[in-house]
């Protein structure tokens, strides 16, 4: 039912004036947010683009025009490419793996298992733990020699690994920790979506002899696809947090095997105080994330199935 027009009892004010008043009120309500949005989200981005064409040093008021020099430097910077590669490797493997784990957990818990609340909390609690605490505990878990993970490997008769001290294993080690930390969050979001899937759909499929794998792939996944899509985006945004883990666990090492773009920006801007070049790297990080999200919107986003459609 459409809302009745609000004005019949009010004294006759011209509709144009009413509209203007409403617009003024709206801008006044948006003002507090807009001030901070402008000052701490959009101004920094514009400024970062401006800085990237200049030679800017932290705390030095003098700025020199460089043109594209920072960008050409980027092309020749092997460490930049390594950090970009590490970032891509981390995001592209961690996000889907965490989501698959989350989906399987959610499907298992959706079947009204007894002790469901306990399971749910057991998988979710890592989200509550500060990244610095999580990172530290995992440094301990991965410790060579006395760390429990290595002890477990020995007990199973497998060779011990140096994990965070081995340039081949350091990044995968951080990825495993991230999956532990975020799967529970994604699981909760997917659980909420699964609750909306009508149960008789599964029942019909089961009676028709459709096996569990096909039920998952052909019924569950399409029906929760809008949520899956949303979780992918959230996952990509959360993957920025790898800065905390790298800072706490490895400081980018060994041999820059865990140096990622956020950390490289930090190194360049704060340790070498080269704000101009650091801004250039920051801009490529933004392009990378926006590009990834755009790509996902064009591929996955197109295939999302909304319930009730066709």
């Amino acid at each position: 039912m459409p809302a009745p027009p609000p004005g019949p009892l009010a004294p006759p004010i011209s509709p144009a004036r009413l509209r203007r008043q409403e617009a003024l009120l709206a801008y006044a309500l948006l003002l507090p947010s807009l001030v901070f949005l402008a000052g701490f989200t959009y101004w920094p981005i514009l400024r970062s683009i401006w800085f990237s064409f200049h030679d800017v040093l932290l705390g030095d008021p003098e700025i020199f025009w460089l043109g594209l020099e920072n960008y050409t430097r980027l092309l020749d910077d092997a460490l930049f490419w390594k950090a970009l590669g590490n970032t891509a490797f981390y995001t592209i493997l961690t996000v889907p793996t965490a989501i698959v784990v989350a989906l399987l957990l959610a499907v298992a818990l959706d079947s009204r298992l007894r002790g469901m609340a306990i399971y749910r909390s057991a998988f979710f609690y890592p989200v509550m733990i500060p990244s610095v605490a999580a990172g530290m505990v995992w440094v301990f878990l991965y410790a060579p020699g006395y760390g429990p993970i290595n002890s477990a490997l020995s007990a199973l008769g497998l060779p011990q690994l140096n994990w965070l001290y081995d340039s081949r294993w350091a990044l995968p080690a951080i990825m495993v920790m991230s999956i532990w930390k975020y799967s529970g969050y994604f699981m909760l979001i997917l659980l909420a979506a699964l609750k909306l899937v009508p149960g008789d759909l599964y029942e019909a499929a089961r009676l028709d002899g459709v096996n569990a794998w096909h039920r998952l792939w052909h019924i569950t996944v399409p029906l929760v696809s809008p949520t899956l899509y949303f979780v992918v985006i959230i996952g990509i945004l959360h993957s920025y947090q790898i800065f905390d883990y790298v800072y706490v666990m490895t400081q980018g090492g060994p041999a820059d095997s865990t140096n990622v773009l956020t950390f490289y920006i930090y190194q360049t801007g704060f340790q070498y105080q080269d704000i101009g070049y650091a801004s250039t790297i920051a801009n490529t990080l933004l392009l990378f994330v926006l590009g990834l999200i755009g790509l996902i919107a064009l591929t996955l986003g197109r295939r999302v199935h909304y319930m009730g459609e066709r």
Partner: protein, 284 residues
């Protein structure tokens, strides 16, 4: 499974299936819990036990003395106070800004609405991790580095919170608001008396997510603080880790427990609310 047909031979296969699931899920849950169990156990061990491969999984005797010992090495009370002040200030400011903005987007018409809403939404993609560098420069110019406000101001506007609340405002029946308007309530009075009471669950959900995020935040406070007077709990823990660097895990794990427990205790008490808040960030 809801909607079971009465013909299905439910009890037996369901019990079998549940048994199977427990067999898989229980060890998995234990695996997930193991880092936390490890923190607790280590925080109660002696230093030598940690490095002794012959020592058992459990500590010989529970050394609760590790906790008071940890509290004396760093000003944890100051860190705690700062964490409370920063998290509280962020939440209070956010609740004001998102309420006002969400109302404008949900119930008012004005030129440029779509564009402005787009700007709010786009902010979600630019968390502080992506734009910390120039924000740091700005705060330095404002002379705010190493102060509590430095940890608050970048987070006062929340595109995400505005979006969440706008969705809830739009579900409030228009008739209710119109009735209030006819009774002579202005927009602000309607917002306060009609809208806000009805969207309380959304406000609580947003509050929980905001508190968890900023209570645990590490990168930004790390960059903008350089003295104990303004440091928050996660930063204090990071410093302790640096000082101990693998030498004293018992103290470090006791410190971790101290930093982790406030939220975990709240989580255990208000489990339903926490779960619901995070659960419904994805739907609607």
């Amino acid at each position: 499974m809801q909607g079971l047909s009465p013909l299905a031979p439910a009890p037996l296969w369901r019990r079998l299936r549940a048994g199977w699931l427990h067999l898989v899920m229980a060890p998995l849950a234990l695996l997930w819990m193991s880092p936390l169990i490890w923190i607790v156990l280590t925080s109660l061990k002696t230093k030598t036990e940690v490095f002794d491969p012959q020592a058992g999984f459990l500590p010989e005797s529970f050394r609760f003395a590790n906790y008071p010992a940890t509290l004396t090495v760093a000003p944890f009370d100051t860190y705690l106070l700062n964490s409370v002040l920063v998290t509280g200030a962020i939440l209070a400011c956010q609740l004001v800004t998102i309420t006002l903005a969400a109302y404008a987007f949900a119930r008012l018409e004005f030129p440029g609405k779509k564009l402005l809403f787009g700007l709010f939404l786009l902010q979600i993609m630019f968390p502080i991790y992506a734009i910390f560098l120039t924000n740091f420069v700005t705060l330095r110019e404002l002379g705010l580095i190493n102060s509590l406000p430095a940890m608050v101001v970048p987070f006062i506007a929340s595109g995400y919170g505005t979006f969440m609340l706008r969705q809830s405002f739009r579900q409030v029946p228009a008739d209710l608001a119109d009735a209030a308007r006819l009774d002579g309530c202005g927009h602000m009075a309607t917002l306060w008396h009609v809208y806000l009471p009805l969207v309380k669950p959304t406000l609580i959900a947003f509050a929980i997510i905001s508190v968890v995020t900023h209570w645990n935040d590490y990168m930004w406070p790390l960059l903008v603080t350089n003295s104990d007077g303004v440091r928050t709990l996660p930063i204090g823990l990071g410093l302790l880790a640096k000082a101990d660097s693998g030498a004293d895990w018992t103290r470090l794990m006791a410190g971790t427990m101290i930093v982790v427990s406030p939220l975990l205790i709240l989580f255990v008490i208000f489990q339903r609310r926490f779960i619901d808040s995070f659960m419904h960030t994805g739907v609607k």
